[in-house]
Symmetry: C2
Amino acid sequence: MVERSSVLDASPELDAVFRSLGDPTRRSMLRMLADGERSVGELAQPFAMSFAGASKHVKVLEDAGLVRRTIRGRIHSCNLVPARLAEADKWFDFYSRFWSKRLDDLEDALRNESTDTTERETK
Amino acid sequence: MVERSSVLDASPELDAVFRSLGDPTRRSMLRMLADGERSVGELAQPFAMSFAGASKHVKVLEDAGLVRRTIRGRIHSCNLVPARLAEADKWFDFYSRFWSKRLDDLEDALRNESTDTTERETK
DNA sequence: GGTTTACTCAACCAAATGGTTGAGGTTTCG
DNA sequence: CGAAACCTCAACCATTTGGTTGAGTAAACC
């Protein structure tokens, strides 16, 4: 009795991705990685923070699946992995009708949602 | 010497929004609010959690600017405020070239970024 | 007026987060 | 080989987070 249009939005992956993005240091690191491969050292360099501190941020990004690490000798080279980022971006699609200029998007959204939500019991 | 294409991504607002979205309870509450105004009680009802616990989640959403509260008598009515959500969605635009199907998007992105990033000093 | 309803606030708690330092472990370089 | 460079790990610390319970306030109802 909860399955239709289920309001539940449980997704440990999405949790991890959004929590990762909730830190400015990590968002900055992603920007760097958007320009291409970077070592942990290069990622750490811009920040007024210990190397180990920055390294932990990299690990958070890695654990969230946003970054892949390739160990080559003593340097750990990091790459952006776009898939999870794309998933997070897709999460917003449901809400885009609230700011999208296109009116048929709104129409579609309303047509899809109005089935049981608009006429739900007011208790 | 850091201003051009600055890798820094500091934004307390974005921090708060993404951290808010990093919790499944709060994402679910936003889904409910997408269907229209809801009281704190209505928002709390689906969750196996104390009323006060759910109430704190609502406050987090409010503090992040994702929700506006209107007090009418004893009931606190909540509405979705899309602006911050739209800003968060826009954050992904920079990265959309990594998963976008349209090749000219990629071209544009490369043209705009290649100026000083591709030929940056290799140290 | 008194009770129920809707909600917040404060205190508390455990766990997670964001940071530090210090001690390693490998590579690479001279 | 020895030293420096690159990076992780463990321990520690303070703060935040996500949850609880209990008390308290304000509005609505009988």
